[in-house]
């Protein structure tokens, strides 16, 4: 396969530009069709009855009263699941519909199809489920080490094709995965300066705007077509195939308009349910979750309890890090093994540490299941290690920038897993650039921009300014030996008289701009401006997940490879027509490297279209050794740093983030506008975690499943940003690019917290920060 490394940028709308995205206008004018807008004549509506208890044994289910309601076509329970009764990404332990026991509040128990959504909901409410309530396990510490220890699962789940090699199938009851990192001699080593801290991260929600939804249509061949908003069509299909007892070819998925994902669509929600109802009734079935139901219908970010100890010499150079990280995975496995993998391998941050002793656990409880969310594992750990770096800086008398640059990894550094960083790692440069950026002016006079916002709580009195820094590290792509690949079908043909390219992948656009980037790559690679990106579906091979910041890298790599294959075929035709030579394709023309333009691409297509389908994978990674954490587990790292400037009203506990400055290395800015969009959005999500976003769970029950009570930043809370983007190419990746989506979420949270600590003098240990953390602490002063 010939893959050109030269970037051909003279074809308009190619890589490095920011062409208008095809979905943009529709989205901002309200015309874009999201999955919740799907419609088909004669369709039925599905509804789900969920467990009100975090933990209970089901003693009986009586669907009779629901079936009697006029308009109801089907009422199904676990008895009606045609195939496997459990599914899961890595370990199959989550029931399609609960049997014997429910393990979290909101677990689906019964599904209903009816001719009207309200009828379906009412019918679900008529089902009589008898529960014998059992006391839930809600404290992750209890889940692993309580004297009267209560296992959440009786039987271990089944491993699936995605299981990490070293992910134990919870042999110790409630432990999903325990990953150790032992690097150097962490137990014996001592240090001049030692700082310790306990840190806690609350449960964040992805809070996408488009609720879980889709439309299942039964097909003549006994199979089913599903139109759905998801993150990975093929892994949905694989799990559905088991549950529906249908071969994969009989399940066809087409991506419907996705209203945000952030990890929350990586696990199945309504996919199997809608198909079961459609197959049973022989009619199309649509399901749409309400906002409240959506909070129960997807996983959240793992809450974390962390204990860190950092040892350094008197100059501030790190000698060791010892850490315990406990991640609450909730009732089912979901992505917990991968979250543990990230938290442990990235748990000391982007720093050179000669001795590391780290233990990271992911555990089962009867809390809501936790799984994928932007930056997973890395987000939690960064709050811990960055808090520690500031403590250390204070202990040795260095500034936050100095302590970080002093200890920063660089290309060639060895990580605690033994893996060498073999591409640019400009951590020190990120810090220097942040430091060099001008600071915003003094406390604002516009009261809307003071802490308390429009609430008019201060005119500047009690307000103190603080500045904080943080830097984060994130792995890009699927790690630990996972066979991570994508597939692209690329076709070039004459449409009218013009050459036109069709790119077809199963990679999911969740709003990040993947469709645009695929077209940009095809334009640059094939010198053709007219590019169409076909709807993502399962008629082409897997595109892998839209997660782990991987799609531009992996599907981008596949599209580039597909284009290269097409180009080779075109060059053969060019050689036949113009004589042997070296050619390139630019702006619709065929250029000979010797003779210049020799013809146009259109004339090469008179012999008919050219089409290739290729699979492309990034270089392989290795599993981690369970006992030591050794292994070249990651394919690429991405680095991002933030400086936060905050004003804190220390008397009222109110915070205004005045400015966020960010420097990120993206390797290659494939689409500069999209890069900025990711940095702004990711930073905002990190701000949310720092100062307000939390799914409040008390005794296993969600207390705020609505956008009235789950607070996210509004435009009033989000400050202007200064952003610098570095482009230091990674020699191993397509175009040198690095994944962009997750890193900004990681460092913005600890930077904001550091700034609030600096302003208030309060030793904050938990995110999100709330007024009481500041006011109560101020009292003790």
């Amino acid at each position: 396969m010939t893959v050109s490394t030269e970037v051909r940028n003279r074809t308009a709308g190619g890589i490095g530009e920011s062409p208008v995205r095809p979905d943009g206008t529709f989205k901002v004018t309200g015309q874009f069709a999201y999955s919740s807008d799907l419609w088909m004549d004669g369709m039925l509506w599905g509804a789900t009855l969920r467990s009100p208890h975090p933990r209970a044994r089901i003693t009986s289910i009586d669907v009779g009263p629901a079936l009697k309601l006029a308009g109801v076509s089907a009422v199904l329970t676990h008895d009606d699941v045609p195939g496997e009764k459990v599914y899961g990404l890595e370990i199959a332990d989550q029931p399609v519909l609960a049997f014997d026991e429910v393990r979290y509040q909101g677990e689906p128990v019964v599904i209903v199809a009816a001719d009207h959504p309200e009828t379906a909901r009412r019918a679900a409410a008529l089902v009589v489920v008898d529960y014998e309530v059992v006391e839930p396990v809600t404290d992750p510490r209890e889940a692993v080490g309580h004297p009267d220890w209560k296992p959440v699962h009786d039987e271990p789940g089944e491993r699936t094709a995605m299981s990490r090699d070293r992910a134990p199938v919870h042999p110790h009851g409630n432990i999903v995965r325990h990953q150790r990192i032992r690097f150097g001699d962490p137990d014996a080593v001592t240090a001049d300066v030692v700082v310790q801290g306990d840190y806690e991260v609350g449960m964040q929600d992805q809070a996408f705007l488009g609720p879980e939804s889709g439309l299942a249509v039964p097909a003549d061949d006994g199979g089913v077509d599903l139109y759905v908003a998801t993150q990975w069509l093929h892994v949905d299909r694989r799990q559905m195939s088991g549950a529906l007892a249908l071969p994969e070819e009989k399940i066809r998925l087409t991506l419907a308009g996705v209203g945000g994902a952030f990890g929350a669509r990586e696990d199945l929600s309504m996919q199997v349910h809608a198909c079961m109802l459609a197959l049973r009734t022989g009619r199309p079935v649509k399901m749409v979750y309400s906002r409240e139901e959506s909070f129960f219908g997807h996983v959240h970010r793992h809450p974390a309890l962390m204990r860190y100890e950092h040892g350094a010499d008197r100059d501030g150079r790190l000698v060791y890090v010892r850490a315990h990280i406990l991640l609450d995975g909730g009732a089912y496995t979901s992505s917990t093994p991968a979250v543990v993998g990230n938290a442990s391998t990235l748990g000391v941050g982007p720093y050179d540490v000669p001795n590391v002793g780290m233990d990271c656990w992911g555990v089962y409880t009867n809390n809501p299941p936790c799984g994928a969310m932007r930056g997973f594992g890395a987000v939690q750990a960064a709050f811990g290690y960055e808090s520690q770096m500031d403590k250390l800086a204070a202990a040795v008398g260095l500034s936050p920038v100095e302590i970080r640059t002093l200890n920063a990894v660089s290309e060639g550094s060895i990580l605690p897993t033994g893996q060498r960083i073999d591409s640019p790692a400009p951590v020190a440069e990120l810090m220097h650039r942040l430091d060099a950026m001008p600071l915003p002016g003094s406390v604002d006079q516009d009261i809307r921009l003071l802490p308390g916002g429009v609430s008019n709580t201060t005119h500047g009195e009690g307000v103190r300014r603080g500045v904080g820094y943080a830097v984060g590290i994130k792995n890009v792509g699927f790690s630990e030996g996972f066979d991570d690949y994508s597939t692209a079908r690329v076709r070039i043909e004459l449409v009218g008289d013009e050459p036109s390219v069709l790119v077809h992948t199963a990679a999911v656009e969740v709003g990040q701009g993947l469709v645009t980037v695929q077209a940009q790559i095809a334009r640059s690679e094939l010198g053709v401006e007219r590019v169409t990106v076909a709807a993502a579906d399962t008629q082409v091979g897997s595109g892998g997940s839209t997660s782990a910041s991987r799609q531009t890298y992996v599907t981008g790599g596949a599209v580039r490879a597909g284009c290269a294959a097409v180009r080779s075929s075109l060059f053969e035709r060019a050689a036949a027509r113009y004589g042997p030579g070296e050619f390139r394709l630019v702006a619709g023309k065929v250029e000979s490297l010797v003779d210049g333009v020799v013809g146009d691409i259109a004339s090469l297509l008179l012999d008919g279209p050219v089409e290739h389908t290729v699979q492309w994978r990034h270089r392989p990674t290795q599993p981690l050794d369970e006992a030591t954490g050794r292994g070249n587990a990651h394919v690429q790292w991405a680095f991002c740093a933030h400086r936060a400037v905050v004003d804190v009203d220390v008397e009222l506990g109110l915070i205004r983030v005045v400015e966020l400055a960010c420097v990120q290395d993206v390797g290659k800015a494939m689409n500069p506008d999209a890069v900025l969009g990711q940095i702004h959005g990711g930073s905002a999500q990190g701000l949310g975690l720092a100062v307000m976003e939390e799914v409040q769970v008390v005794d296993g029950k969600l207390r705020n499943p609505s956008f009235t009570d789950y607070l996210m930043p509004t435009i009033m809370d989000m400050p202007p940003m200064r952003v610098e983007v570095l482009e230091l190419a990674d020699p191993h990746s397509p175009y040198g690019l690095r994944g962009v989506g997750e890193p900004p979420t990681i460092s913005s949270t600890p930077a904001i917290v550091a700034a609030v600590r600096a302003a208030s003098g309060v030793d904050l240990k938990r995110v999100p920060i709330r007024p009481e953390h500041l006011v109560a602490a101020a009292l003790c002063h």
Partner: protein, 329 residues
């Protein structure tokens, strides 16, 4: 949601009659609270009587300066009305600090006064709650009570009243005009909401079928020197964690008169009489303001997770009054 009937009332008398005749009927105004609660299954009316066509939609200033506000005046319109914006800044500010622009465009005076508590157990029908289901218990006392009351609560219930507007009206000694099966009456706002005692389900002194037609705000000479301050968990669009409505009259550095009410700390908009009494005749200094707040909060019964409201509301009081004192001196 359960099925229900909907009728639109054309005159107040019919509205009152219709609701009085059906114990499961409710008035519907902007619907921004009632409809949410119906979706949650907390409110389960059989019949909704829509009030929005009733002619109570004007703001009138009477000769003596009393401002009469019809119940159907939307929160946005009320906040923007010149008599309110200029003459009663605390009320305008309180309204604008509430909810979002869209909600304020729907929300009405009567609906705002009668909105229900945000206590999470009250809103979750799978949980016991004395207010929703008398006698079933109050899980908030041991559980999630960070947002709940430190003043005026009872063993049976520690819910807070969530309204911002009502706090300003409490400070202004507003009166509520009520139309009922036995005719019209007026009641001080201070007596509209009941403290929970042993019966948290009885939230107001209104009888079933009684309709709020409007409110009257009597003149207050120093109302222009007033403010509403609200602490909340994000910059806009969130309920109060603690709030203060205040008006201050200072002469020669001495407090001649003061109005003070607290929000989000009690089961009703909390008029701080003890603080007012402690302040009249005292020097208008931060120290007296703090002492006044402390006098009011002597009766506070903070719990594990809401104890921070004691210093918080104290700081808001000092801040607000200091600011007003600065304006007048």
């Amino acid at each position: 949601m359960r099925p229900f009937q909907f009728v639109r009332a054309d005159d107040a008398a019919t509205a009152v009659q219709t609701v009085t005749a059906n114990p499961k009927a409710k008035f519907l105004a902007g619907g921004t609270n009632l409809v949410d609660l119906m979706k949650l299954g907390v409110e389960r009316p059989d019949l909704l009587v829509d009030l929005t066509r009733l002619p109570f939609d004007s703001v009138d200033v009477e000769a003596d300066g009393t401002v009469r506000i019809g119940t159907n005046v939307r929160n946005s319109d009320l906040a923007a009305h010149p008599a309110v914006r200029n003459g009663l800044p605390l009320l305008s500010q309180a309204l604008l600090a509430g909810a979002s622009g869209q909600l304020r465009n729907m929300a009405t005076v009567g609906g705002n006064l009668l909105q229900r508590t945000r206590c999470v157990y009250f809103q979750d029908v799978t949980k016991p709650c004395n207010k929703r289901q008398p006698g079933s218990g109050c899980p908030a006392r041991q559980g999630d009570h960070r947002n709940l009351a430190i003043l005026g609560a009872s063993e049976a219930c520690i819910a807070t009243h969530p309204s911002d507007m009502a706090v300003a009206l409490a400070a202004l000694d507003a009166r509520v005009a009520v139309s009922g099966p036995d005719g019209d009456r007026e009641t001080p706002l201070a007596e509209l909401h009941a403290l929970p005692g042993e019966h948290p389900e009885q939230e107001t002194t209104l009888r079933h079928g009684e309709l709020i037609t409007g409110i009257a705000v009597p003149p207050l000479a120093y109302a222009e020197r007033s403010a509403y301050r609200k602490v909340r968990d994000r910059a806009s669009y969130a309920f109060a964690v603690a709030s203060v409505a205040a008006a201050l009259d200072v002469e020669d550095g001495v407090v001649r008169d003061v109005r003070l009410a607290f929000g989000a700390v009690a089961p009703k908009p909390w008029r701080a009489h003890a603080a007012e009494d402690a302040l009249r005749g005292r020097p208008a200094t931060a120290a007296s303001f703090r002492a006044a707040a402390e006098a009011e909060l002597a009766a506070a019964e903070p719990l594990r997770d809401n104890a921070f409201k004691v210093p918080l509301i104290t700081n808001v009081v000092v801040r607000t009054l200091s600011d007003l004192a600065g304006e007048t001196s």
